[in-house]
Symmetry: C2
Subunit: 226 residues, 2 copies
Amino acid sequence: MAEENESNYDPSKFDKPSVTVDLVVFTIKDNNLYILLIKRGVWPFEDSYALPGGFMRMDEKLKQAALRELHEETSIKDVFLKQVHTFSDIDRDPRTRVITVAYLALINSDNVTLAADTDAKEARWFPVTKMPKLAFDHKRIIEYVHKDLRHNIDNYTMISKFLGDKFTLTQMQNAIEAIHNHTVDKRNFRKKILSLGILSELDEVSRETFRPAKLYSLKKKLSIIQ
Amino acid sequence: MAEENESNYDPSKFDKPSVTVDLVVFTIKDNNLYILLIKRGVWPFEDSYALPGGFMRMDEKLKQAALRELHEETSIKDVFLKQVHTFSDIDRDPRTRVITVAYLALINSDNVTLAADTDAKEARWFPVTKMPKLAFDHKRIIEYVHKDLRHNIDNYTMISKFLGDKFTLTQMQNAIEAIHNHTVDKRNFRKKILSLGILSELDEVSRETFRPAKLYSLKKKLSIIQ
DNA sequence: TGAATAGTGTCTTTCAGACAATATGCC
DNA sequence: GGCATATTGTCTGAAAGACACTATTCA
């Protein structure tokens, strides 16, 4: 690390950037992929949509800051988080020098009511295919994190963050297809998923469709990711 | 992003962490994978080895800071860099709150003389299998970045960062094997690499071995990775 | 001519992808 | 019984992996 030539270290010697976290929160509703955005009420970018996020405090780690900010702004808790990239363009924030650490977040929208008992500003889900104009460099951040999601979803261990603990194979396939924006053959999908050995067949069925479907859960193996 | 409730933004309102970059610089020598470490001369962790790195300045981006610090401490230039992860444990630095952005760096050791015309402290290559005791949380950072290297080397487009522009298939195979610490069958390796269509056969041979070997170069396609 | 390393081909197994009919539960 | 959707198997082509001998250059 740094400062190997100073025998007396003075932390005030260097200017420091502000450090924020920004969250790209994904969910799946009606077989489509959505991202959560907040409407800004103040300068800069007043009335623009932006990613939820905010400043890291001195008594918390980045991931804790991400969880706290998300909860403050949307009342969401218990979310899956994965750090993706740190953005540091010098003029990315007109107020002052700010670097931001971008997090990927996955939630099951069934379990969430946005802006319930909270002081959050307007929070809304937007389809990834229909993003509004965004504040700061948040368009770029979303593109970066969305790509990360597509590259990483194929180990399938994150899928329950979208679907909950129990899900049918059709629900799983629909989710994967929404994320990739691409359909696959049902028989091939099932053959591959089952051959991976990551699912447990449960003694329960889902009755959300005409013919009931078997429910599955993820085996309790640790994910490669995080 | 942050601070949506304040109509007058005051950047001094929040304490800020220091922000550093740390580099895990890999090279391959004698078919082994090495990491570059610097010996610390001052508190804290005096006389411990540590990763090269240092503070980001207000007039540069993180990647520029990484390039600058590496050049200052080791005289290395023209290095391949990839941001990997930002570490933010509260007590990871005994001096003050410091978050650090870890970079993966790959160099061809043939082109580098360490600590040449520079004011660098002692800089040495260590085999990844024989790391000394390290300052800060640098052991953890190395493990994280090393894993990232292993997961990403298999698109093969980074291999020339280790080997230079021209290399034989045997050199390439040895490098891949060193990174994975695992041998593969020579015929299968060649069949696969050539089938990828990423290499151009040159009209030159390497005479470093008894029987001269054909030289190859990477085709000028853009890498997936940065 | 022998030492050292470059270069090469076949067989088997596994995985990916195209493809359509049957089974079940509900109304 | 008809509707909606769950469930299932085969074939084919491509890629991965096991495996050993010949070719070339130099000393």
